[in-house]
């Protein structure tokens, strides 16, 4: 099994490779895009009549969930491709996807709590969607713990690919739970809100103008850029570890 994995030769892998042009472009695009999305959300979009300024947090809250969605989606893709191709690169992308997605999921939970404080008069409530979002974050925390617990490198990679694929069910549950469980108070912006949703607002043109660019940014450019950077770091980390092992074995 170990023989199947392709390993890069040592010296080249440890040295920092120059950043590819596309990655530079993506990094610039994320920085500029993030600022533009903030300006659109904070200044251009109109203030909500009922909720006031706090409603603007929505331009981060919902896109960050979709950012987590696409990062975890990349973990699934990376997992399948690793199992198929046995190339370490895909496993690195899967790991980076989990870390980036987890960060986005935590942003999503934190912004949600901040919004809920004035609107629902509580930081947290055991609403079906809130619960499943928290469990989604816990699932990927479990991924990282499991990963740290497996010692054999090749086994770790294929096991974690399998777990990364399974873990995605928690993302799908979070996405669809407000459509199937009727007693949620979480508002639905796209389509009809559930009967007892509290704090919903209409997706008017003023909302859409700030929401769509932010959503596109968080869905595509931001996760891809961060995952790319993270998997480059992981690649050098692995190379350093291998070099360490090599030196240790030469000493003995």
């Amino acid at each position: 099994m170990t023989a199947k994995t392709k390993q890069e030769p040592l010296p080249q892998a440890v040295a920092a490779t120059p950043m590819p042009g596309l990655l530079k472009l993506l990094t610039m695009l994320s920085l500029v895009g993030f600022c533009c999305a903030l300006v659109l959300g904070l200044f251009v979009a109109g203030t909500d009549i009922q909720q006031g300024e706090i409603q603007r947090i929505f331009y981060i809250h919902m896109p960050s969930f979709f950012g987590a969605f696409s990062a975890f989606g990349l973990t699934v893709v990376g997992g399948f491709l690793y199992l198929w191709r046995k190339s370490e690169r895909w496993d690195r992308i899967a790991l980076a996807g989990v870390e980036v997605g987890l960060a986005f999921a935590l942003i999503n939970l934190a912004t949600g709590a901040i919004w809920a404080r004035p609107i629902w008069n509580t930081w947290w409530t055991w609403d079906p969607r809130l619960t499943s979002a928290a469990i989604m974050a816990l699932t990927y925390a479990a991924y990282l713990m499991l990963r740290a617990g497996i010692e054999d490198e090749a086994r770790k990679r294929s096991f974690m690919s399998v777990y990364g694929i399974f873990a995605f069910t928690s993302v799908l549950v979070t996405l669809f739970i407000i459509r199937v469980v009727p007693e949620t108070i979480h508002p639905v912006i796209v389509g009809a809100s559930p009967q007892n949703a509290q704090g919903s607002f209409e997706a008017t043109s003023g909302v859409v103008i700030a929401l769509i660019p932010s959503l596109l940014l968080w869905l595509t450019v931001l996760p891809i850029t961060l995952i790319w950077h993270r998997s480059r770091i992981e690649r050098r980390l692995e190379a350093v570890n291998r070099l360490k092992m090599q030196i240790l074995s030469e000493q003995i």
């Binding site: 497996i150 294929s158 399998v162 777990y163 928690s170």
Partner: protein
Amino acid sequence: MKTPFRTAVLAIVNKDLRGEMRSRELLSVMTIFAFLCILVFSFALELDRLAREEAISGVLWVTLIFASMLGFNRSLAQEGDQGNLDALLLAPVSRPAIFFGKLLSSFLFTLLVALVLLPLMTVIYNKNLLNGWLMLTTVLGVFAFSTIGALLSMLTLHTRSREAMLPVAMLPVALPLLLTALRASTNILKGAPTREWLVWLQLLAAVTVIYLALCWLLCGFVLEE
């Protein structure tokens, strides 16, 4: 030459059942644990009649899922410690056959515990749980837990603290199953009209089929050595 799929699966199930018949290690631990769990819940929740009707299916499913995790940990630990898993992997048997063998034997054990649990809870909570639809939900739910349990216990077998890792890995993935099974059985127990809970049963079946397909596809990677 490979042993035919059905023969291999039946041989593994047969082996597990025979081992259990002789040692009675797994079933006794699982049953006693489940019984204790129910007692602890009835103390802890201090339920009045109305609250009991709401909580009873929650107690049932949480107990079942904990008992099944206990069973998985023990059963795979036995396989791993005594070198049987390595022998199985060396044998000319397809990987899915090993997976399905373990799945079926764990399913049978957990189902037995569930079948003891239902009459027991009927007595303790004074609410009739011996209902045909509820039994069907239980069988389906237990089977669904067994699919991911079998896969994930093979996965956590090689981790550093495997007994602690299985619940951490399994509970979040089991959430869709727990949610649907819980909704279905709560509504069945309340005596709600069929159309209100049939959809949950169908959802449970759909998730089970998806998980089963994923396990079939991926178990080869978890079982390579």
